[in-house]
Symmetry: C2
């Protein structure tokens, strides 16, 4: 949904041409033949949390998606980082919007490169402060799962599955690390 | 240089209007009145390295900028992350382009939110494999600095200064952590 092909200049509306810019750049860019604006396209950040409950973090909050893609599948709260916020602020905002949870933010847990779609996903751990959830319109249901209850075959995205696997592996070891993962 | 104001639709070239989209979104977006495309603008990632030399990592490679902004000031090798690469691959590419160094990548060292300009900077540690540098056209000179030699008043960007300060502080403690910093 995010980036339809760039065909016209964002400054003046003229149809662009794809060529090497004149500044020594080695990548094809959309260049405006009228006003010479060079249009760059770069990866986007998706920010979210692993919200956990219990002194030992034994339960994780998942949200059942009420939107496409993957309607009806379970996900961690996450979404595109916005201008005007830090990555952690964006992750907290998404957790509020999608789960309506009370929580406190903890450390950065995982950075996932999803090169195929031009995204970097950043997940923070978050400690839930209660078990009442008030999810927004993007979520059918928000509920807690122990490791054995996680619906592994109904997880919406590979990034979420990989993050959950690492969370529970770290928990078994009694120590939460930082994980960098390339999703292929 | 990166993002001139969006005035025209990237799909059809029609002048956009800024309004709330129809999908429940709560932020003003550039919406095309002709083809209804919603244009999102999101933070961009800048990726780079802290390239160090010596068994104890006592020397850091800095590059003297041959481009604006901050022509003539010193920086760590870094630049905008591109589509088709991971954050670490982008950081390695920039290190090659700007310093022409031989190195091996190490762990993610710092994530810096620069909210004011809509950027997230990710710096990796990198271990130099030699002291011959062959910088590209963006760099006047690439050279190694010990902590006491760092030209603190001639550092190009606050993100670079903050990263260097944390690198040397960690080095004094004999242990490199991961740092998340909000640049205000």
């Amino acid at each position: 949904m995010h980036r339809p092909p760039l065909k016209h200049c964002r400054v003046c509306g003229t149809a662009v041409v794809y060529r090497l810019p004149d500044d020594g750049d080695t990548k094809l860019r959309a260049v405006c033949p009228a006003c010479n604006t060079v249009h760059y396209e770069n990866p986007l950040n998706v920010v979210g949390t692993v919200p956990v409950w219990g002194d030992d973090g034994g339960q994780v909050l998942l949200c059942k998606r009420n939107i496409e893609p993957r309607w009806g599948k379970w996900t961690l709260p996450a979404g595109f980082m916005e201008l005007g916020e830090t990555a952690a602020q964006g992750a907290a905002r998404e957790t509020d919007e999608e789960a309506g949870a009370r929580f406190e933010m903890q450390g950065l847990f995982a950075v996932m490169n999803v090169v195929r779609v031009g995204q970097v996903h950043l997940f923070y751990r978050a400690r839930l402060l209660g078990t009442e959830f008030n999810p927004g319109h993007e979520t059918i249901e928000a509920r807690l799962f122990t490791e054995s209850e996680i619906p592994w075959d109904e997880i919406a995205f590979k990034t979420v599955k990989e993050t959950l696997e690492r969370y529970f592996a770290d928990r078994r070891q009694g120590r939460f690390g930082f994980h960098e993962v390339d999703i292929v």
